[in-house]
Symmetry: C2
Subunit: 284 residues, 2 copies
Amino acid sequence: MHQLQAPGRAVRAMAEWAKHLGGIKGVVLDISGVLYDGGGEGGGVPIPGSIEAVEKIKASGLKLRFCTNETQATRGKFVAKLQRLGFNILVNEVTAPAPAACRILKERNLRPHLLVHDDLVPEFDQLDKANPNCVVIGDAADNLSYKNLNEAFRVLIGLENPILISLGRGRYYKETDGLKLDVGVYMKALEYACDVQAEVVGKPSKMFFQSALAEMEVEPQQAIMIGDDIVNDVGGAQQCGMRALQVRTGKYRPCDEQHPEVKADGYVNNLAEAVDIIVKQLHK
Amino acid sequence: MHQLQAPGRAVRAMAEWAKHLGGIKGVVLDISGVLYDGGGEGGGVPIPGSIEAVEKIKASGLKLRFCTNETQATRGKFVAKLQRLGFNILVNEVTAPAPAACRILKERNLRPHLLVHDDLVPEFDQLDKANPNCVVIGDAADNLSYKNLNEAFRVLIGLENPILISLGRGRYYKETDGLKLDVGVYMKALEYACDVQAEVVGKPSKMFFQSALAEMEVEPQQAIMIGDDIVNDVGGAQQCGMRALQVRTGKYRPCDEQHPEVKADGYVNNLAEAVDIIVKQLHK
């Protein structure tokens, strides 16, 4: 019975949001939980139908941008992993927090103390890190030890004007072996410890979505975001003037559809279903 | 010049708060940062004059209660350490969060998942911990690893009615080798991750101060609290109807004297100075 009901729900939902797809010229895709589930030995597994869905967008004439808060590896390494998993994706199609943060740090002459994943450190190679005047925190997984968080805290509390830059503000994400705490949790920890407000680089920051749109050369109302995070993907994109769908994969939980503050323009079972509907409407 | 100014400030401050000491029958003392600074090989060093100050209170006829958020050891072990450092202190003179939390857990049939210091675990020996229906978090120092915080998160997010009990909500404390993140920082992290509000057992909770007062059999307006934490010691005690002094030892920072929300009844250089003034007033 349950298996029969799921397509029925999808068809009813489709009827609703698919009516409002006029003028769509570009698609913005979240990666983790939409294209693939991370974790395990090979670094993750593709979500069924997603490899083909990316190809379908590219073949449709729609513009495409990947917009991720991934900070466990450089953009280059991350894209190489996705290519190995079978995805048609290039480094210059990806908007990611670390390169955006680097630009900001350079512009403002900031010397970061880094609390990030070891594999992300090379992104910051060009920056002066001696005598730090800010802290940059990312999803560092096991590097988020008590010792390392305490070190970052001591840098911040010792600054006259403490600046905390957070690469995203997610609560958790899903890997093959279960839910994992994300950077936002540790950002909140440091905010409380030092009584500061972090500056977020990454989703749901408006500037971050805007830079993805600028790369595609489309206006917000011409773009649709597809993500598994009701707040950071869907809510963030909507705040920016885009339409946004939530997929029922990755970290999706049924209670997301009753979220008190964010309502997606549509809910779909997965990326493949979303792309089918979007491309079909395009040719009407 | 600076060394000459400090006593001057103290004398001026004394003139102010010492006028309002009428009716004081009991003293509530914070321990870490007031009696001693923790850390290092011997487990800490007494703050000069504090050993004698405790003796002076006991000799004065004032009632005395120690009120700590210390959760890195059982109350018994913690008191034994203080005795080795030279303090005249007994287990039954100490109000601490873990025994208070145990009473609450038993009353409400809660089975805790513990994220606490290894040395605190014996306090919870009598409780059923299988199939946990709540999380108890304490200042666990290096035990607050990514892996352990993630485990506690998974327990909480899996509960229909997530209950998080935090043994205190301090931001940081001072050890001999510098500032250390306290439990409140990790409480905030889990609150954000799971969208819950923790129940705090320990300072600044009103119930916690009230139980210390009940042990002394004095009313709030008859008691004075002395601590180094402007929010959790001073603010908490004042909320409870007590007077409160902040010492300029432990985690004290000069900016505490301009705290936007909490103003101590008086600021003193250390416990010895506070006790001198209080005892002198008593005999007037």
